[in-house]
């Protein structure tokens, strides 16, 4: 259990470092980020491989279940298999998860309360996850967007990392757990289902241009800080909340809820960062993700070491870069 807490803490710290590295002067340091991702990976392995029933709670009432039945090959699992056991491997072609994400099956069939929008949302995700290469980026993009917009809803935790945990309380704050449909780069195939939601204009709408383009540049003016102090991106601020919460030890009666939400968010975030550098886990090359053409098109422009912040380029970037940028 202590290993798990330690691992959890290390994961939080690592994610914070990756996030801060975006706005450091001089651009993203490849070496340091690689080392951080190694630590993140080790901690994640410990974190996910140490089954601890207490942690995988049912969560607060009203967790809607994004039914992943759309996903091919996914068995219609019964009650969340993730409760206290290592989750069954998920057969999904496009997202190269070498280790299953516990929270995904765990919420797959919990009774849904209220919101059907998230269903739409998740349907969109499910569709996306059909495995089309072109959509792979979309999946990454949408995944990345959700934590941010979920956080933008002043969620205490990640609540709805994927838009799948919109608890009642969260729903009150945010009309739905939709991703930023409006923010999708043009031409996104999977954008349609997502935009067909009841979302009112979201605070996240302010975010689109800001985080990728502004932060690295703002860094120089803003000086050193825990975050992009000079960065006006609203997207950055909300994200700090879950991070702060992650680092606070759970306390009191809220324990279980907070813990569960943190788990969910952290695991979601892990899935973003953990799947990159997938070669570190696999011996054989050729990890799940197809390299986008855009990787080679702009000369080196889309490599993790050099993040180009133009939105059209973002669409072509690999999920690692996308994740970094979005965060």
């Amino acid at each position: 259990m202590e290993f798990k807490l330690e691992a959890h803490r290390i994961v939080s710290i690592s994610l914070g470092k990756i996030y801060n590295s975006r706005v450091q002067r001089g651009g993203i340091k490849l070496h340091k980020n690689l080392l951080v991702s190694l630590v993140l990976r080790s901690a994640r392995q410990v974190y996910l491989s140490d089954p601890c029933p207490g942690l995988y709670l049912a969560g607060p009432a009203g967790i809607p279940a994004p039914p992943p039945q759309q996903q091919p090959g996914e068995p219609a699992a019964g009650p969340p298999a993730g409760w206290g056991e290592p989750p069954p491997p998920v057969a999904r072609a496009s997202w190269p998860e070498t280790e299953p994400q516990p929270e995904r099956p765990s919420v797959s069939h919990a009774p849904r309360v209220g919101d059907e929008v998230p269903v739409t949302t998740v349907t969109g995700v499910g569709d996306v996850l059909q495995g089309r290469e072109a959509d792979a980026t979309e999946a990454a993009w949408s995944r990345v967007e959700r934590p941010r917009q979920a956080a933008a809803g002043e969620a205490e935790g990640p609540a709805g990392g994927w838009g799948v945990f919109p608890e009642g309380s969260l729903a009150a704050r945010r009309p739905c757990g939709c991703p930023l449909g409006g923010e999708d780069p043009p031409g996104t195939p999977a954008a349609t289902p997502r935009t067909a939601c009841c979302c009112a204009p979201r605070p996240a709408e302010d975010e689109p241009p800001a985080p990728p383009a502004v932060c690295p540049r703002k860094r120089g003016a803003a000086g050193v800080g825990g975050g992009p102090a000079g960065c006006p991106a609203p997207g950055s601020t909300p994200l700090k909340k879950p991070r702060r919460n992650l680092e606070q030890p759970p306390s009191g009666g809220e324990d279980d809820d907070a813990e569960e939400m943190e788990t969910g968010n952290v695991a979601n975030l892990i899935s973003i960062f953990g799947s990159s550098f997938s070669g570190l886990l696999r011996k054989s090359p050729g990890g799940g993700r197809e390299e986008e053409e855009g990787e080679e098109s702009g000369p080196e422009a889309a490599e993790p070491g050099q993040i180009c912040c133009d939105k059209p380029v973002l669409r072509d970037m690999n999920p690692w870069s996308t994740a970094i940028v979005a965060f």
Binding site: L35, L38, A213, G279, Q306
Partner: protein, 453 residues
């Protein structure tokens, strides 16, 4: 291990007695980030000592000629030249700021009256010529002493201009700029023993340049994977062999060193030798990979050995034996239990350098709390010394320091928890021939000398 030298015994190896000589830099507690020294390098003769800082400036110190009236005191190093080598830049295409911090300085062997050095930031390498001017011409015909043109009709006689002495002026001018060859951050440059070429290394590639040609370079190592998500290691340092102009080594973040021979192929992706020490499974932790990342690699002057620095130790390798190092010296093993905290405060990413003395009998590297460590390879003795203003009286001997690792702390010992991790010595240099060392402590440069001779 923490210092082995006793109280009154000679410190360091070979009965060295290190004494304070000079300190350069502001005394202010408030350190401007731009003043933080980022590289230190003696030239081939040791008469010149160059430092680069985070503000992109290079300061060169020159050793004064020995004073005949005091034959036992060594020449002091005084400022010889200061210039702005690199400026901050902005890459508009990628919306990235390029830091002006000088990552490395390497001197070229002197071939004429002028001195040449290479200095590099993250992206651009520059060749600087430092020349002296101590004469100026006077008695021009067409202009007067102020430089104003003289009226030709007023000139009634011709004279030959003569050279008159003037106050010494040291000029630094950029002679070559080697740009746009690196996508990632340059971490090393190394001048070849042929004195015509040099290499520059970034995280994923190493390029070979000719000193005269700036518009192209040859890529000799490329470890960038086709799919960046499969990236598992990066290049952390590279150096040419001191005598064999076809041989170079590069170290990686995985703790391995590859030796490459440029005669074997144009692209040296396949190494000729591969140096790696098997990991000790009992010491595995979350941070095992980080602490095994090599931060510096240096050939010995003889060319027979090379030294690598990782986070906790210094290792000496025999080029003829790839399976394991011939020596391993612990720099600050007491930090092994603190790795998590050091990860949190980013100290675990600090890149310490290491250096050989002129005879390859001793090695030196830095640590925290302004401590630096010296290891004598012959006597197997090591010592911990401190660069501090308190022990800055001229020719004052440095007292060996000791870190208390647990249990009762003896007098004069420092406990691990009291170490100041903001005071780190990352850059040190040893005079190529004499026992003179330069130690960079944040924004101050300390120069220590051996008391004997």
């Amino acid at each position: 291990m923490a210092g082995a030298g006793g109280g009154g015994c000679p410190a360091g190896g070979n009965d060295f007695q290190w004494c304070f000589s000079q300190v350069k830099g502001a005394i202010d507690e408030d350190v401007a980030e731009a003043d933080i020294i980022s590289t230190v390098e003696f030239n081939y003769s040791g008469d010149l000592l160059a430092t680069g800082d985070k503000g992109g400036r290079v300061v060169i110190f020159q050793r004064e000629q020995e004073n005949k009236s005091r034959p036992h005191s060594r020449g002091e190093y005084n400022v010889y030249s200061t210039f702005q080598s690199h400026e901050p830049e902005f890459d508009y295409l990628k919306s990235l700021e390029i830091e002006e911090k000088i990552n490395k300085i390497r001197w070229l062997p002197q071939q004429n009256a002028a001195h040449f050095l290479l200095s590099t930031n993250d992206k651009t390498i520059k060749l600087w010529k430092i020349s002296e001017r101590d004469k100026r011409a006077e008695g021009y015909n067409l202009k007067d002493e102020d430089g104003r043109l003289r009226d030709p009709f007023r000139i009634t006689a011709l004279r030959v201009p003569i050279l008159k002495p003037m106050d010494l002026m040291v000029e630094a001018s950029p002679r070559r700029i080697f740009a746009n060859a690196h996508t990632y951050h340059i971490n090393s440059i190394s001048v070849n023993s042929d004195h015509e070429t040099y290499l520059s290394a970034d995280d994923l590639r190493i390029n070979l340049w000719h000193l005269e040609i700036t518009d192209r370079s040859f890529n000799i190592v490329d470890i960038k994977p086709a799919n960046m998500e499969e990236l598992t290691e990066v290049i952390t340092a590279a150096e040419f062999h001191p005598h064999q102009c076809n041989v170079f080594v590069y170290s990686s973040s995985k703790g391995t060193i590859r030796l490459c021979d440029m005669r074997s192929s144009a692209l040296c992706d396949r190494h000729s030798k591969f140096f790696e020490e098997p990991e000790d499974p009992s010491s595995r932790s979350f941070f095992s990979e980080i602490i095994s990342s090599i931060s510096d690699v240096k050939f010995s002057h003889s060319g027979r050995y090379m030294m690598t620095r990782d986070y906790l130790s210094v290792k000496v390798w025999d080029l003829n034996m790839e399976s394991r190092p011939v020596e391993t010296h612990q720099v600050h093993e007491y930090l092994r239990s603190k790795l998590c905290s050091l990860y949190e405060n980013d100290c675990i990413f600090d890149k310490f350098e290491c250096c050989w003395n002129g005879s390859d009998s001793a090695i030196m590297t830095g640590s925290y709390n302004n401590f630096f460590r010296m290891f004598d390879r012959d006597t197997r003795r090591d010592v911990t010394l401190e660069a501090s203003r308190e022990s800055s009286k001229p020719r004052a001997s440095l007292k060996p320091r000791k870190v208390c690792t647990g249990g009762k702390r003896k007098k004069d010992e420092i406990s691990v928890d009291s170490l100041d991790f903001n005071k780190k010595i990352l850059h040190t240099a040893w005079h190529p021939a004499d026992n003179v060392i330069a130690v960079a402590a944040t924004n101050n440069l300390y120069i220590f000398q051996d008391k004997i001779n």
